[in-house]
Amino acid sequence: MDFEEMIKDYLTFLDESFNSSSEVISFLSRQLEIHGFVNDGFLEAVLERESKFPTGLYLGDINVAIPHTEIKYAKKSGVAIVRLMKPVYFRRMDYPDKEVEVSLVFLLSIVNPGEYVNFLSKLTQSFGDYAVVRQLFLTKSKDEFLKILKDSLCAKEVDK
């Protein structure tokens, strides 16, 4: 699947406010559900996995989280994205006893294991380019946000 196609205008939300990582995950999960991307039990499975294996990624000033779960809960591949008005705490993947203030959350729904790995790889490589993360954090327009993200995912693909 074309990675560009997984990024949807209607699954992307800028400058929303939530009080906790669970609230963020519930909101994004609901969006995936409304648009027919995930099966029943997806939300519970993501929350359960997050409690055992958290997905907060510490990058620097602007941090991200990539909650996900097993492919059996996914009906269609897509990613629900939110940029938060104020950061919420996620536990860190590398140091689960520590928390990180997260501003960008990507909730993944992916149907095929190979695709899962490829998409995760492209997405996290984008985070390695701090300029990209900064632009995603700062841009005022949703169109621009989507373009930066898609360009970044595609640029990395050409590299290979």
């Binding site: 996995r49 294996f53 990058l59 590398d94 140091y95 294991p113 995760l120 790889s121 390695g128």
Partner: protein
């Protein structure tokens, strides 16, 4: 070329560790290593240690493991990748030949 066997560990031993394995193979082959990777979940490390020179993990590993461990997200996020490569080479003894 020195052969190294790396056990790559993440929470569930599926997606994240695959991303990290690919990156390690790419980066360490440029440093002159012949890399073999194996993946497992954090809770199954002790059963997967045979012949392993070093463990690279994105998540904590419990228990008493005698193989050197590098815990890093660098091969997932790209942040601090060079430092992490140097730490691995150093823990492998620094000798590539």
């Amino acid at each position: 070329m020195r052969r190294v066997k790396i056990l790559v560990v993440c929470g569930t031993g599926i997606a994240t560790s695959t991303v990290v394995s690919r990156k390690l193979e790419e980066k360490l082959s440029k440093e002159g290593f012949e890399v073999e990777t194996r993946q497992c979940k954090a809770s199954e490390v002790s059963a997967n240690l045979e012949g392993v020179d070093i463990i690279v993990s994105t998540t904590p590993i419990s228990g008493n493991v005698k193989v050197p461990i590098v815990r890093t997200l660098a091969f997932l996020t790209g942040v601090g990748e060079e430092d992490a490569i140097q730490e691995i080479i150093q823990k492998l003894g620094g000798d590539k030949s």
